[in-house]
């Protein structure tokens, strides 16, 4: 939990606040990338897909900024205890959010491959945005938990990952069934399998961030939870 007191050195508080702001800004961009990639996919909007790919550079730039600031804080402020754990967590979380951005970018890249000109629309696409929404909310909530140093909120995010995994399993089966029934669409639907897998990975990353937030907030490791095996795509 956040300490009620401020640092005697006020500039230290400013640095910590800035670090949190950068992480939440990064998270906002990653959520937007996921939403736009899914929108581009459902609407076959290649211009929007291209935009998602271009915007990924902004996420990378913030990651670099987080790294610079974290190193500076460690060098100049010698943070201890929960401050130290938070700075280290920020470093690691920035790397994970960057990965989440990459998954969104990867989804965007597949937009032209899923929609072959002249072919029928693949109905299975319509079930993917709901799954993406679920993963995106996990990312949102876990970064809020980080800002608030809220270990309980982090646990709630982890608990949601099983539902996302179940969602993935059901989409996997649906897409395989679709391929069997529509053999001409195998190549397009194979890309959708990767999209689903990417979304499932985003959820895993949100879970990892939740574990980092828990450690930063409490100094203890979150107990190993039962992981549900997900078939590899």
């Amino acid at each position: 939990m956040a300490s009620g007191h401020e640092h005697t050195v006020k500039a230290f508080d400013e640095d910590i606040k800035h670090l949190r702001a950068l992480i939440s800004q990064m998270g906002g961009l990653a959520e937007e990338a996921i939403a736009d990639a899914m929108l581009a996919l459902s609407r076959n909007d290649t211009a929007l897909a291209k935009e998602v790919r271009a915007k990924d550079k902004a996420i990378d730039a913030i990651e670099a900024e987080v790294e610079k600031l974290a190193v500076r804080v460690i060098a100049l402020r010698a943070p201890m205890a929960d401050d130290l754990r938070e700075v280290v967590a920020a470093l690691k979380i920035a790397a994970v959010v960057e990965r989440i951005g990459d998954y969104a970018k990867n989804i965007a890249k597949r937009v032209p491959l899923v929609h072959t000109p002249g072919a029928d629309r693949i109905e299975a696409i319509s079930i993917l945005p709901a799954m993406a929404q679920m993963a995106s909310e996990m990312v949102h909530d876990v970064l809020d938990a980080f800002s608030a140093r809220d270990a309980e909120a982090a646990i709630r995010v982890v608990e949601r990952d099983n539902r996302l995994d179940d969602f993935y399993d059901s989409i996997f089966r649906t897409l395989v069934t679709y391929m069997v029934e529509n053999p001409r669409t195998v190549s397009e639907v194979a890309h959708l399998l990767f999209v689903a897998k990417n979304i499932e990975r985003i959820g895993d990353h949100a879970t990892n961030v939740a574990e980092m937030v828990y450690f930063a907030a409490t100094g203890n490791y979150m107990a190993e939870r039962d992981t549900v095996e997900v078939p590899e795509a």
Binding site: S3, H5, E6, H7, T8, V9, F12, A78, P79, M80, A81, D82, D83, L84, R85, T218, G219, N220
Partner: protein, 274 residues
């Protein structure tokens, strides 16, 4: 790693702060109170220190860490208004018993102070003084050997071996402090108490003292009082945090600095105190 069971001390806990499983305590304090006249400086402190670990006492000015350190070799006896209650044991023997010879005690529990305080005598005499009054050397060559060994252990021999007759006060501050450590070592102590040994030294001299503390670990039980938390983190394996005369938390240094259990410890080490 073995699981260490801590009775993490808080004000409401009567249990002594244990140094950890496996290490037999060299010194144990139980229910120690210290008063200066009417004013109580230490409240019900119980703690163990052992040979294998360097123990650091940290806390804000006036928290009682130096006062408590001084009870460990009865340095407070020299303060007329000071009164000590409770029990402090060295190898299970109460050092405040009437039968305890204080001069002998201070040979067994040596002390190094904040400001280097060599005698205004030669480097050799500074080290030889203690062994001589305690009758530890039978001959001149015995004494030479003790002086050489002590200066070597204090990491000063190479710098002074060719000028042992020079005055101790002619050395640099860092060298003087290492001379004081050699002087403490010369009488073959079991415990060395250090009260802010580096606060008057520059970073290089400080690093040498810290390296020395590292080398002396295991040979002596070492207790160091420091205002410099980074120093406590660097040199110690156990850290005790004092506040307002009480022992707030005592644990492995790693744990104290990465995940302190008490709110007051956290506020202090993260710079949120006051």
């Amino acid at each position: 790693m073995t699981q260490v069971d801590y009775a993490s001390t808080s004000a409401d806990s009567a249990a002594p702060a244990r140094a950890g499983a496996g290490a037999a305590p060299k010194m144990s304090a139980r229910g120690v109170n210290v008063f200066y006249g009417e004013k109580q400086a230490i409240r019900d402190v119980s703690i163990d220190v052992d040979m294998e670990n360097v123990t650091a006492f940290i806390g804000p000015s006036g928290c009682g860490k130096s006062t408590f350190l001084r009870t460990l070799n009865r340095m407070n006896d020299t303060v007329a208004s000071a009164r000590v209650e409770g029990r402090i044991m060295l190898d299970g023997e109460d050092i405040y018993e009437k039968s305890m010879d204080v001069v002998q005690l201070r040979a067994r529990v040596g002390m190094v102070f904040q400001k280097p305080n060599p005698f205004p005598k030669s480097i050799y005499e500074n080290v030889a003084y203690g062994p001589r009054i305690h009758g530890l050397a039978r001959s001149r060559s015995d004494m030479d050997a003790i002086v050489e060994r002590s200066l070597k252990r204090a990491g000063l021999w190479e710098e002074v071996k060719d000028r042992l007759q020079d005055s101790g006060t002619a050395l640099s501050g860092g060298q003087q402090q290492r001379l004081c450590i050699a002087r403490a070592i010369a009488v073959d102590p079991e415990v060395i108490l250090m009260d802010e040994p580096c606060s008057a030294l520059d970073p290089i001299a400080t690093a040498k003292i810290e390296e020395l503390i590292h080398e002396l670990r295991g040979k002596y039980a070492i207790v160091i009082v420091t205002h410099n938390m980074q120093q406590a983190a660097r040199v110690s394996q156990r850290t005790a945090f004092f506040h307002l005369g009480t022992l707030v938390e005592y644990g492995e240094t790693d744990q104290i600095f990465t995940a302190p259990r008490q709110e007051r410890t956290k506020d202090y080490i993260t710079g949120r105190y006051g």
